[in-house]
């Protein structure tokens, strides 16, 4: 399955690369400037400047990839989600809430080390007790009530946190599991924060 999708995506990538390169070289010039004008600091090494395949597609298409490419690459991202071996997708919502509060990790001024903070409240409303929440992502308050009846909802939430790009290729949300920013336990705890009936998010 995965093997079929990858070459297809590659081929499409090559196709869309052609007009982009011909059209104007501001993007190429921008990349050259970025490569020339950044220096490593702390844990933020220079290799972070390179685009991976997904980033390149999103960058090149203004975050609106052609539908076929988008769907194929989303499927590829989803196929790479690793679920817990014990089959349990829900952890401790209290630990999840604590993790959701933290925005630490990965900046040049942060101490290196994993796991990093969940960064959730930076962009989402979750517990009504936390009034300082961001709005880049949708509100997740009352998530169980609004989304809980859908089949496989635990699996959806786990995989969405693991790799948000499996559902929306150019989502603003980081791929927390895919890049190992969060491990299995942390993702389980965040799933519980959204889906445990006792979680403040559902009160």
């Amino acid at each position: 399955m995965k093997n079929n999708i990858l070459p297809a995506a590659m081929a499409t990538l090559l196709l869309i690369a052609l007009p982009a390169a011909a059209e104007g070289d501001y993007r190429a010039k921008a990349i050259a400037v970025i490569k020339k004008d950044f220096q490593p600091r702390g844990q933020a090494s220079i290799d972070r400047l390179a685009e991976d395949g997904l980033q390149a597609v999103c960058n090149r298409t203004g975050n609106k990839p052609p539908e076929g490419v988008g769907k194929a690459m989303e499927a590829d991202q989803l196929a790479n989600v690793k679920y817990p071996a014990d089959g349990k997708l829900m952890g401790d919502w209290k630990a999840g809430e604590k993790l959701a509060q933290s925005g630490r990790g990965f900046t040049w001024s942060d101490k290196p080390g994993l796991p990093v903070g969940g960064n959730c409240y930076n962009c989402h409303q979750i517990s009504p007790k936390e009034t300082s929440f961001g709005t880049i992502g949708p509100s997740l308050y009352q998530f169980l009530k609004l989304r809980g009846t859908q089949p496989d909802i635990q699996k959806y939430v786990y995989s969405k946190i693991y790799n948000a790009k499996a559902y929306n290729l150019c989502s603003d949300m980081p791929r927390f599991g895919h890049i190992s920013a969060l491990g299995e336990k942390q993702i389980k705890d965040l799933v519980a924060l959204l889906l445990d009936p006792e979680s403040p998010a559902n009160k």
Binding site: G24, Y26, R27, K29, A30, I31, V33, I34, K36, D37, F38, Q39, P40, R41, A44, S45, I46, R48, L49, A50, E51, L54, Q55, C58, N59, G62, F106, T107, W108, S109, Y121, N122, C123, S132, F133, G134, T135, I136, K165, D172, P174, R175, I179, A181
Partner: protein, 287 residues
Amino acid sequence: MKQNLIGALCAIVIMGGAFAQTPKKPVAKPAAQTAPAVEAKDAATIEFEKFRAEMEDSNPAELFEMKGEEQWKTKRGPKNVALAESCDLGLGIGKVQGAYVKMPRYFADADAVMDAERRIVWCMVEKQGFKFDDIAKKPFANANFTPDITNLVTYVASHSRNMKIAVPLKEPKVREAWEIGKEIAAYRAGPYDFSCNTCHGTDGKRIRMQNLPNLSTPAGAMKGVQGWPGYRMTGGVMLTHQWRMGDCFRQQRFPEPKYASDAVAYLLTYMIGNANGQVYKGPGIKR
């Protein structure tokens, strides 16, 4: 001197609540600033804005302006030359009036598009004989140290107070810098797949309670320009627009942009250029 000021500021912050009762002075609104769509302001923001309005008559940035003026006019560096008698910010040697709001611009002598800070550094190196690497080693202020360049930028910026931003975007080299800056703002990479635009490309978004200006719009871009260089209450330091760009990349989880580089100049060209036509109020106060 600075320590006293910080103490005074802290006291004022603590008394912040009192401002609500003091008679309100009319605060001039920037003319061209169009009302953004409904923007939720938390109590802290409202309180801080009142505080900033009250502080306008005794802006701590003025201390740095005064130092910068002295440094601009004094013969300094290995070549013992004053910037006032050697440095062209685009309007003629030594002319500072209105220069800040007309940068970034293209300077033929350097064959580069330069924002104000980059240009002053260039003058310090080329005209006064300072070593670039020495300046770039510690380019930004911290609690114990304010580099000369910060004072100089603040001085130059103060001489554009209440003037309209006028980045010469019609000049081809500046236009190209704007285009490349726009692409840099859109470039997603790093562990979190973030670009500048992840936070600053859409109207009406927040990180926690912090409103995020959309830098692609005139009103949003102006919010990213206004108040820089700025005296930051947190830590009590004077910081420049260059510093602010670096701090954005830090939070983007990127490596660090090199000081006074093309990358920062182009990004500033994009952002300040988008704010063209709006009134710059001079060095400011930041949270």
